[in-house]
């Protein structure tokens, strides 16, 4: 069996004014290199689970453990600033709206995590540019976010999530604001650049087509896991196979 990269044990989370807990004894293990879709009706706790796993919100009880390159870290017991550093260094995020900085160009947005990690600007930008190339945005690096389509902006967000070599990418409805053709493109990019590279993807989605391409679907209702299984039909392929050259961005050796 593949080792887990992330384990959650009996997570409990209640919000102040909410009648029922948003997470009610949720346990889950995510294997390295796996793609997990989290599904469920609106308000079932998908976003809360994703945020708890990623150390964005603290939980009331239970543990989240990240088995990172430097050993196991108990995310749920870290201080706010340590969790922030963990997210910066090891996790990547793609939200429904990319939450890119509109004043910055595409390349600058993607290079931001590298600058935060202490890379020189030139190196950061050339690495960011090769990620943009790999995601089909060659030549668009100098554009500002407002000059990109929704799907292009979302691919910029994917590049930003990957650029530091994050071991896990968390995505919350990454295709939620896109039409179906564009959704497919963005999902291809997301899967190809994560599980296609041996990385792990946890994606919250409403879209059965999106979920069907993941190796595993976790279904939530009322803050509890109702079902956890492989999608019906074929075993997930981990997305399209990319031409080798496209994905070499981070094996470049130049950094």
């Amino acid at each position: 069996m593949t080792p887990s990269i992330l384990t959650a044990h009996r997570l409990l989370k209640s919000y102040d004014r909410a009648p029922a807990p948003a997470l009610d004894e949720v346990s889950i293990q995510v294997a390295a290199g796996e793609s997990v879709a989290i599904m469920g009706p609106s308000g079932s706790g998908k976003t809360t689970l994703l945020h708890a796993l990623a150390g964005i919100v603290p939980v009331d009880a239970g543990q989240v453990t990240f088995h990172g390159p430097t050993g196991a870290v108990e995310v749920s017991s870290l201080s706010e600033s340590r969790r922030s550093a963990l997210r910066r260094d090891h996790f990547g995020f793609v939200f429904q709206q990319g939450l890119l900085i509109p004043e910055l160009t595409a390349v600058e947005n993607v290079s931001l995590p590298l600058l935060l990690a202490g890379y020189r600007r030139q190196d950061a930008e050339s690495r960011a540019a090769s990620w943009l190339d790999a995601l089909g945005l060659a030549g668009m690096g100098g554009r500002r976010i407002g000059e990109l389509s929704g799907g292009q902006a979302q691919r910029v967000a994917i590049a930003r999530a990957q650029v530091t070599g994050a071991s896990i990418v968390f995505a919350d409805e990454p295709t939620g604001a896109l039409d179906s053709a564009t959704s497919v493109e963005v999902l291809d990019a997301l899967l190809g650049s994560t599980v296609g590279q041996g990385r792990t993807l946890v994606v919250v989605t409403h879209d059965e087509d999106v979920a069907a391409r993941c190796a595993r679907i976790v279904r939530l209702r009322d803050g509890r896991i109702r079902d956890d299984s492989a999608p019906r039909g074929a075993a997930a392929t981990g997305g399209p196979r990319f031409a080798g050259a496209g994905w070499s961005a981070d094996e470049d050796g130049s950094l």
Partner: protein, 466 residues
């Protein structure tokens, strides 16, 4: 992206709109109820209007005092003229502060109003809600400001003119003018809310969809520098004017030179801010420097509106400061008391204009954080350290501010180059004081920035689901 997230309290409004005639006042009330963290959205414009009103009343009180004194004693007739000059210098920052307050009270509503439009409220309804709200904010703020003004008079009364503290009583404007100022602030706020509304009414979708940053033409700079050069050369040969047209001609030439340089500063300011930011963009090594430079480049004009208010005061302070330093040393010709009072006047005008800019920066920054709440929350989720966000904010303001201050000081210095040179040698204390006041002014603006920090903390502490 930031413009499209509906506020959580909005969804139950359509039901009301469908049910026959909605009561506008009721909707306005629902939209303005301070819900948790958005309390700041209501408090901020009120605070901004309060500060504007308090400063306006204080300046008015001081001016009226000088006018009274000047009319009472022909020997002191120069005071009202100088006070009028100071007021003229303060008008720009004061208007820009008032403008921020007005924009803030309207803009904070853009998202919600855009949502209202999308769900079918008529433009007229939207207009009435906004204007109603802005008027209410302005009225509350102006009343608080009047109280602030009264509370501050004992402290302001300690300032020394005519050889003694002026006293709290001499700053009292009278009940009539007080009422007029309050009414004026409210009126201007309502009018600017009505004007600022058009963009929302015309396009219900996304107010911030601008794709490209504006650039300004370099020709502007060339023309401006040429004009300044002509003025500087003219100033160096001021005595020529004196020989041809006598004293009057000389004074007129000086006034024209002043006006021209001030106009040039206004023309050049946004361009210079952009040039410096572009240089900083190229040199940026850190995330915060990069974000700051790009933010400034997004709208150098908006930044000029925020910080440009100190340009004129800085310029005049250098010119007047040098002149006064020499007058103080030379003695005799001008009364020592007048020279001292003029010094005080220069410092006060300078500090006041920095104070106004500081308030306007604080208010604008707070508004910006609220406007871009989901972006800040998103950056926080990615693991962006708070310190980086703060540093980007500080750099984004202090950069343009220093650009403005330094270039105004240089322009002023060039204008009176020989005078300034002599002043540095014979009256270094005055020049040092001047530099100190500049430092205090910049410090005030940074304090305005720091004051908006809790808003960011509140946004990050209670992130709504984005």
């Amino acid at each position: 992206m930031t413009a499209t997230t509906p506020a959580p309290s909005v969804p139950d409004i359509p039901a009301r709109l469908h049910r026959g005639r909605p009561r506008i006042a009721a909707i306005a009330w629902r939209l303005s109820r301070p819900g948790g963290q958005s309390a700041a959205a209501v408090v901020l414009p009120v605070v901004a209007f309060a500060i504007t009103t308090a400063l306006l009343l204080t300046v008015l009180g001081g001016t009226m005092m000088f006018v009274r004194t000047g009319l009472g004693d022909p020997d002191l007739a120069v005071y009202p003229i100088l006070a009028g000059f100071a007021v003229a210098l303060l008008v720009v920052p004061l208007v820009s502060l008032g403008g921020s307050a007005a924009r803030l009270s309207a803009r904070r509503r853009d998202d919600r109003l855009a949502t209202l439009r999308l769900i079918g409220a008529t433009p007229a309804q939207v207009a009435r809600i906004t204007v109603l709200e802005a008027t209410a904010f302005a009225l509350a703020g102006a009343l608080v400001g009047a109280v602030l003004y009264l509370a501050a008079t004992p402290a302001v009364g300690l300032v020394r003119f005519f050889g003694e503290p002026i006293g709290a009583g001499s700053l009292w404007v009278g009940l009539g003018p007080l009422g007029l100022v309050v009414a004026g602030v409210v009126l201007v706020a309502a009018a600017s809310a009505a004007l600022g509304l058009r963009s929302v009414v015309i396009s219900p979708l996304g107010v911030r969809t601008k794709a490209s940053a504006p650039r300004m033409h370099w020709l502007r700079a060339v023309v401006a520098v040429a004009v300044v050069a002509v003025v500087v050369v003219g100033m160096q040969n001021l005595t020529l004017f004196g020989q041809f047209g006598g004293m009057l001609m000389m004074v007129a030439a000086m006034l024209v030179a002043f006006a021209v340089v001030l106009a040039v500063l206004g023309l050049l300011g946004p361009w210079l801010i952009g040039v410096v930011a572009r240089a900083q963009l190229r040199r940026a090594r850190t995330a915060s420097a990069l974000i700051a430079a790009r933010t400034v480049l997004e709208s150098p004009k908006a930044l000029w509106r925020q910080v440009g208010g100190v340009a004129m005061a800085c310029f005049v302070a250098v010119v007047a400061g040098s002149g006064l330093a020499l007058a103080g040393v030379a003695g005799g010709e001008m009364e020592a008391e007048l020279v001292e009072d003029m010094h005080t006047g220069v410092w006060i005008t300078l500090v006041m204009s920095f104070l106004m800019v500081a308030c306007s920066v604080g208010v604008n920054q707070a508004a910006q954080i609220l406007d871009r709440r989901d972006l800040y929350v998103g950056l926080d989720r990615l693991g962006t350290p708070r310190s980086v966000m703060e540093a980007a904010r500080v750099r984004g303001i202090v950069g343009p501010l220093l650009t403005v201050v330094v270039s105004a000081v240089i322009a002023g210095g060039l204008l009176v180059l020989p005078l300034l040179g002599i002043a540095i040698v014979v009256a270094p204390a005055t020049i040092l004081t001047l530099l100190l006041v500049f430092a205090v002014g910049v410090g005030l603006v940074v304090a305005g920035l720091v004051a908006s920090r809790p808003v960011l903390s509140a946004v990050l502490a209670a992130p709504e689901r984005v």
